[in-house]
Amino acid sequence: MARLAHLWDMSRCVACMACVIACNAANFPEYMRSSNPNPQWSWLASNIRVWWISVGGRPRVLLTQCMQCDNAPCVKACPTKASHYDPKTGLVTIDYRLCIGCKACVVACPYGARWIDPESHMPNKCLGPECSRRIENGLKPVCVTVCPANARDFGDLDDPESSISRRVRESTTIRLREELGTKPRNIVVLRGG
């Protein structure tokens, strides 16, 4: 099975938020006109979360989404097995037929990558419905496609010829909060090759 993952290159990212808007438009078009689509994050109905952090006293932007952890706390916390690893893609996925909206997965995620839908009260996360369809059809998620700075990538980490594997080899990378033992697959590039 492929080990699919996202890559976000913070050295290339210009914080234009095209990925955030694209995620919103593709995965949650019904919320495009809503005045308060994501009250939990006070943000757009998008699976990409924007964090304004301070590094050495300087403000930096950090864009995160579901880290596709190999040891996902959300999967362990889920009382109905609704949050699970997709047997085809290996990605952390929600089966909404089983999900009861207990929010345990939202609390359990140390990356704050899940948000509660204000209408259905169910959790949302990356990949959204449209991006999941794109992956099934061999396409990349919309956030990767629209990025004007080529700061994003998505692919199989186990395939040495994939563009994501090549970029990982040629760059200085980190994975967020590895000390928690969640084994996040998503990669943050600090300095590109």
Binding site: C78, T80, K103
Partner: protein
């Protein structure tokens, strides 16, 4: 008066459920996933299970208490435990997006890696065993055969105690196993929850039993000594455990939120409500209650314990979520005020709870030696 209450309480019960159900329809999303509703659910779950541990003093260890008070009020105690789990169930089910499908989907998923899965299974067992224990107690007043089945009595009581200890230690570890919230950490949350449950459960039980049996001076006096001693011993244990939680937090990442509770934004609430009222005042009042047999002192201590117990659960659940870490590991502060929908749901659950508790008290033969006369178990 009794017939007036029997006619009015079902209406109040329905009103309580209706208010809670209405609040479900206007439910909103808040900045933290687990807010006031989860605090309320945890509080009532601890009332029920803590009261059940106090009952086990009699049902398992055959301790009758001062002047045999436990023997006189044990059925009231078991009914109090059973009724107190109902508001916890109301709150946690209505906090779900799918309240009706919630319990069966959880129980039949066999997601044994999830602490919440075990909560559902253990709650179901807790309710079943407690109901069976109460039915056994009521039926054994009229059935010589049942009364002679001591092994059945002990088995039921043991199952109730086992499930009780498991259910609230597991509840503690619902929080203790979350790596996402630094302040929720370690195995010590399980014993801390057990100690807290005994305090909250005993104080709720003390208020219910002594106010209902207001005219029974012997029960009031004996209950004063019994609950007074429970408060002294378990409060000391609770402070001991809480002290070690805070000391252990100081050495690790959990200090980021515990420091705010001990000496930061929430310090006034912690020291004033949880420590001054919930520990020091309770110890002083309880010591006075047991030495002078002062019912008033015990009653005030009980009320303080309920207030401090609720405040400590609010602090543990809400405040620690408000001081979390970003994915970069930097501190993040959030702001949360309970919403109208959450307050309404709490009010509905409390109304339904009080009505149910009183209705059962009136309908069930809970007096020592009282025989059921109607429909197998009713008085």
């Amino acid at each position: 008066m009794r017939s007036f209450l029997l006619a009015g309480l079902p209406i109040v019960l329905v009103v309580g459920f209706a208010v809670a159900l209405y609040s479900y329809t206007v439910k909103e999303v808040h900045v933290i996933p687990w807010g006031l509703i989860v605090v309320g659910y945890t509080f009532f779950a601890l009332v029920a299970t803590g009261s059940s541990i106090v009952n086990s003093l009699y049902t398992i260890f055959h301790y009758r208490g001062p002047d045999g008070v436990l023997e006189k009020v044990i059925k009231y105690g078991v009914w109090f435990s059973l009724a107190s789990i109902v508001p916890a169930w109301i709150l946690i089910l209505l906090d779900l997006a799918k309240p009706l499908a919630g319990a069966p989907l959880i129980i039949f998923s066999f997601a044994i890696h999830s602490r919440i899965y075990w909560m559902a299974v253990l709650y179901a067992l807790f309710g079943i065993f407690l109901a069976l224990e109460l039915i056994y107690m009521i039926r054994s007043e009229v059935s010589e055969r049942l009364r002679s089945l001591k092994i059945l009595e002990l088995t039921l009581a043991s199952l109730v105690l086992l499930v009780t200890v498991l259910v609230h230690s597991n509840l503690g570890q619902v929080y203790g196993t979350m790596v996402s919230i630094p302040g929720w950490f370690g195995a010590h949350l399980a014993p801390l929850f057990i100690a807290s449950a005994v305090l909250i459960g005993a104080s709720g039980q003390a208020i219910y039993i002594t106010l209902y049996k207001w005219r029974d001076v012997i029960v009031r006096s004996a209950a004063t000594t019994l609950y007074g001693w429970i408060y002294i011993l378990v409060t000391l244990l609770y402070v001991f455990l809480l002290g070690w939680v805070i000391i252990t937090a100081w050495y690790g990442p959990a200090w980021i939120s515990w420091s705010e509770i001990v000496k930061g934004a929430y310090a006034l609430e912690f020291w004033l409500v949880e420590i001054l009222l919930g520990v020091i005042a309770v110890l002083v009042l309880s010591a006075y209650a047991v030495t002078k047999r002062s019912y008033a002192a015990m009653l005030i201590a009980s009320i303080l314990l309920l207030i401090a117990g609720f405040a400590s659960k609010y602090s543990l659940i809400v405040h620690h979520q408000l001081i979390a870490l970003t994915p970069a590991g930097t501190p993040m502060r959030l702001s949360y005020t309970p919403g109208f929908d959450e307050i309404l749901m709490m009010v509905g659950a409390i109304i339904a709870y009080i009505a149910l508790l009183l209705l059962g008290t009136l309908l069930l033969p809970l007096e020592q030696g009282e025989k059921p006369r109607r429909l197998w178990i009713f008085r």
